[in-house]
Symmetry: C2
Subunit: 646 residues, 2 copies
């Protein structure tokens, strides 16, 4: 103990630090970590790529297939469009990567779309960006896991009926890994992700070699085809729709910019390099897979994925390398959801600090992770998977709008930032909340890069929303404003609470002069007497109240009270309509209305408690009901005095 006396107040600081005991939680998520351990939990480029790249890289597994689903109405003509569309997507990827690399250096403490919008565009664009990102993280988890399970089902069709529950099981698995903490999850995921990169380059390499040597051929025994928008012919709209499906490949590129603080110093450098490596791998794999899929005439299907068809055509059989490809793809897809589990809780906590989300999101659990955000994400993603039956094709139209909206806002914000930078004097510095503005002679070209990026992604977002509206994009178009409204309501509430609780210009009220106690009793027994004994310590002005439903019972209570009531006044309320709470409330209300200034009323409710969980069902719980009904009465307090019957 460390006691300091300051003025009239004694302040005691206790050095005994509460450490949670070992329990099933320890076994599941590891021993608790003290707050002082926090700074050690950072990661380098190698683990960083594993933690943040799985989302981006894994989209190579479904982007080509989802383009083919749209183009399928064109028959074999479709294969002519896949590679050019992929090329357009890779160009867009390059623009976005360049743009985000600038963001990472400008915001070393984390430069997600939310922060960049908040600093440069204002409150409302920031809320929109936050809503867009949160929506997208949930969808990333749902889409990635669903697609991963689709790969498993391609190899083992017998599992098809269980795909929804397998998907939910994987979500819960990733949740537990993440509840253990980010560093351990990085280590857990590094091996499968590097395995995926090696295997995919091998598959694409062997495929290109066989193509060049003319031995590749087309898919044998293709699965039944899946076609969306049957009966349409070729149109620019169809191409745009296919392009929009393909842009799902870009989701996840922003992940690193949100997660910069997780990197080792020099953070920005490490994060930036990781981003460029990631985009290079993503772009090259997408081009390779699209080129080869078109060449082998892969068929989009619910039963077998394009990756599965590609692997068995390239390797010529369902052998060891086929299974290696499927395994690697499955694992990376399932782990892609991990990107969301790294970023959703972080962004939620960040927005909660800005009072836009419930404060509880800022609490870090025993393993120093934002446990509530992790669990929230797992629940929401599981619901999506169940509702959409784990179908990637049904989820895709909801996806990517959020990402492109946040891309656009983030890059527009960056462009505005360069404009501010350009108007500084050389050598001048302005410290903003999350970054430092310094004059940069290259501000014009940097502003151009970000503004061009914003323009491109903005156009893509509009294309996406228009071409996919009827397929499900409308849901996101409704959800994002709803989330913005929710953020605003939460912010208003917290601001209102802070104002109402503020001690500025607050004159402390005088001490309470009078204390009345009301003691509702249903009978006279040890529990009642314990409550009476307690009430005695509060005040001498006590009134016991009995609601009489049965006159005989009331007479019994009266006679017993005369013996045991210690001289305390008893009021009997007749209740001919057999109601208990209502007459009591009416009486308390009346006493409350007649109170004097500086008078407080306490209702002392006897309550007996038992160790049996079900015993609560066997007794009327008056205290709970009274508390709820009288919550809004000023200067009125409900106290239940527990009497242990075990």
């Amino acid at each position: 103990m460390n006691i300091e006396g300051r003025g009239s107040t004694t302040i005691v600081r206790r050095e005994t630090e509460y450490k949670p005991p070992r329990s099933w939680r320890t076994w599941l998520i590891g021993r608790p970590l003290p707050t002082a351990d926090a700074p050690h939990q950072t990661i380098g480029k190698f683990i960083g790529l594993a933690v943040f790249a799985s989302d981006a890289l894994s989209s190579t597994a479904y982007a080509t297939q989802e383009m083919l689903v749209i183009l399928a109405v064109l028959g074999t003509m479709a294969y002519g469009y896949v590679f050019p569309l992929s090329l357009a997507i890779v160009i867009l990827l390059a623009i976005v990567t360049l743009s985000y690399e600038q963001t990472i250096h400008a915001y070393p403490n984390g430069g997600g779309a939310y922060i960049v919008s908040r600093e440069n565009l204002g409150v409302w664009p920031a809320r929109v960006a936050g809503a867009a990102l949160l929506t997208d993280y949930i969808l990333t988890a749902a889409v990635s896991v669903s697609s991963g399970v689709a790969q498993i089902v391609s190899a083992y069709p017998v599992l098809f009926p269980w795909r929804v529950w397998i998907s939910v099981g994987f979500i819960l698995f990733i949740m537990v890994i993440n509840l253990r903490g980010v560093k351990e999850s990085g280590a857990t995921f590094a091996i499968p992700i590097y395995y995926f990169i090696v295997i995919m380059y091998l598959t694409v390499g062997v495929g290109l070699f066989r193509y060049l040597t003319g031995t590749l051929g087309v898919v044998q025994n293709p699965p039944p085809i899946e076609v969306l928008h049957l009966g349409e012919g070729f149109s620019i709209f169809l191409l745009l729709r296919a392009f929009a499906s393909g842009t799902a490949a870009l989701t996840g590129v922003e992940a690193i910019s949100n997660g910069i603080p997780a990197f080792k110093e020099p953070r920005s450098h490490n994060a930036g390099v990781t981003l460029i490596i990631m985009s290079t791998i993503l772009g090259s794999l997408l081009l390779g897979i699209s080129f080869l899929s078109a060449h082998i005439q892969a068929v989009p299907s619910e039963v077998e994925t394009v990756i599965s068809q590609l692997a068995r055509t390239i390797y010529g059989e369902r052998g060891l390398l086929y299974f290696a490809t499927i395994t690697a793809t499955t694992v990376i897809l399932i782990l892609a959801a991990n990107t969301s589990f790294a970023d959703f809780p972080r962004l939620s906590a960040f927005m909660a600090k800005d009072s836009l989300m419930p404060r509880q999101m800022t609490f870090r659990g025993s393993r120093l992770v934002y446990s509530r955000g992790i669990v929230t994400l797992a629940v929401l993603a599981s619901v999506l998977i169940i509702v959409f039956n784990a179908s990637v094709t049904r989820l895709i139209p909801l996806y990517a709008i959020g990402v492109f909206l946040s891309f656009t806002l983030s890059q527009a914000g960056m462009a505005h930032r360069w404009w501010k930078v350009g108007h500084l004097k050389p050598g001048e510095e302005i410290q903003e909340r999350s970054s430092t503005l310094r004059y940069d002679p290259a501000w014009r070209i940097k502003m151009f890069i970000n503004a061009f990026g914003a323009l491109c992604t903005g156009v893509v977002m509009i294309i996406f929303a228009v071409t996919k509206f009827a397929d499900g994009a409308w849901i996101v178009v409704l959800v994002i404003p709803a989330l913005v409204a929710m953020f605003t309501a939460i912010e208003t509430h917290y601001r209102h609470v802070a104002q109402r609780l503020s001690l500025e210009h607050y004159g402390a009220p005088p001490r309470i002069a009078r204390h009345r106690v009301i003691l509702p009793i249903s009978g006279v027994h040890r529990g009642t007497l314990a409550a009476l004994r307690y009430a005695r310590t509060l005040s001498d002005d006590i009134t016991a109240v009995h609601v009489s439903i049965d006159p005989e019972e009331a007479e019994k209570v009266r006679r017993k009270w005369e013996v045991w009531g210690d001289g305390v006044r008893l009021v009997v309320l007749d209740s001919p309509y057999r109601l208990y709470i209502e007459p009591l409330l009416e009486y308390i209300d009346e006493v409350h209305r007649q109170r004097q200034p500086n008078e407080v009323i306490t209702v002392v409710v006897p309550e007996f408690v038992s160790h049996h969980w079900w015993s609560g069902l066997l007794h009327a719980r008056a205290a709970v009901t009274l508390r709820a009904a009288l919550l809004f009465h000023k200067d009125l307090v409900i106290t239940s005095v527990p009497y242990q019957i075990d």
Copy 2:
């Protein structure tokens, strides 16, 4: 006000009687009735038949069909067995009726199996009887409504996919009718029940006339046949199984004996006459329907009921009289559930008075009915209907075991009662709890009637349990002991509570000598100060406690407390593992362990409240968690001081 001073205690009786205001409940279930209105709610024979006979009579609609489902494996041979089996069931009905008529006169205040067993066989048989009856009431509601909806679906096959939800809708409808009160429900149901009786006698009469004149013929376009236990041949076991299915016709015969207090005086006479009328109608209709069904070679089917086939064969077309028959059958079946809604709540309340069910079952709602029992029954019956997909054939094996078990116990109890009566001296009277024993010279024959009844129903119960075990009877064989265990646990709990609360040999503890207050604070604001102001009225020994997760925040709290803390001691608990509740609990625990005799500790928790329902999600609810965690600490009270922020 009426103030009496007796000794040192003032007792006030308030004459203002709380009357609940009008609300949607008034519209739905009618204006509230005061307790004084209770005795007027009794019924005569005419309404009594309507209220209590629907269950028994309605079983004519499915008993024949369920026998045919079993016999169907025998092909057309089946039709030879239906009438003889029905005759056996009617003989059994006659025995049970005679037996129960004696019960009604012996127990004018209600002589259900539960009471008769309790008075004559002891506590355990009474609990078994109670469990059996409650199970059966739930099944009656589920089976009757399902069968009623099957009739509707026979006439309008387009409704087949909605049969489960239509059934649940009817359950809720009957629930509302019963929440309005028994007399009104009698009046509501009298018309359809007498309509059913007239129509069914007309149908059977026309059928017999056409049979005698040789113009009846067989069913045209019979529906697809439904066969249980495919591949079996003729065996005594098969006949017994069909007989067991048919005994479902007897369910409901006991209803009147449970409900005698609902009858006008002379109760026993009115109830007895009603029972005999009811059994006569039931027996004659069952024989008629079975005879004609066999003759027209009706086919058991999920798609069209036997009643529907019978009506269209007798009337020659789907005309007005066909629809009248279907309508009458449907309505009486749906209303048959009403018998359960009259008896289940009454028996629950009765058992609750014996401490076997939660006390809340004895509360009468604003319309003087046992509302909680009514709602409980509606919920359980709906669950059964949903689980068993509203299929009568799947529900039947669960049915009737409970009824025959209660028949057996009730009649065995009566037999024992006559034995006691036979050993009285002429003129001697013994007043038992629910009946008066008087010497009766005919005691031997009366004992024989009841004992023979018990033997017959006991044998039928065993036949039922054995032949239907695998089809679902095992569920009931498990549920009844589970219910008995539940009753016993509840009874033990209430007895234990009563003992622990009893004031016999109780020396009142001395007054509390010392009162310590602990005031957990997360910050210093108006809410905290309101709680401090309240704490001041409780004691001068106050300790404010702050759990420090963030040292900066703790420093801020300390500085503010020096200004606003009114000299009260502040303890800061360091929590390096970021836990809030646990260190606080540990501290409170420690203070609690160190308390002196006659010391009480109050934890005053500041809590702010808002009118927005969702605001609770935005703040940590410390008071709720603390209360749950500290419930079992003696002499420790948790008080939350609400601070209204709106």
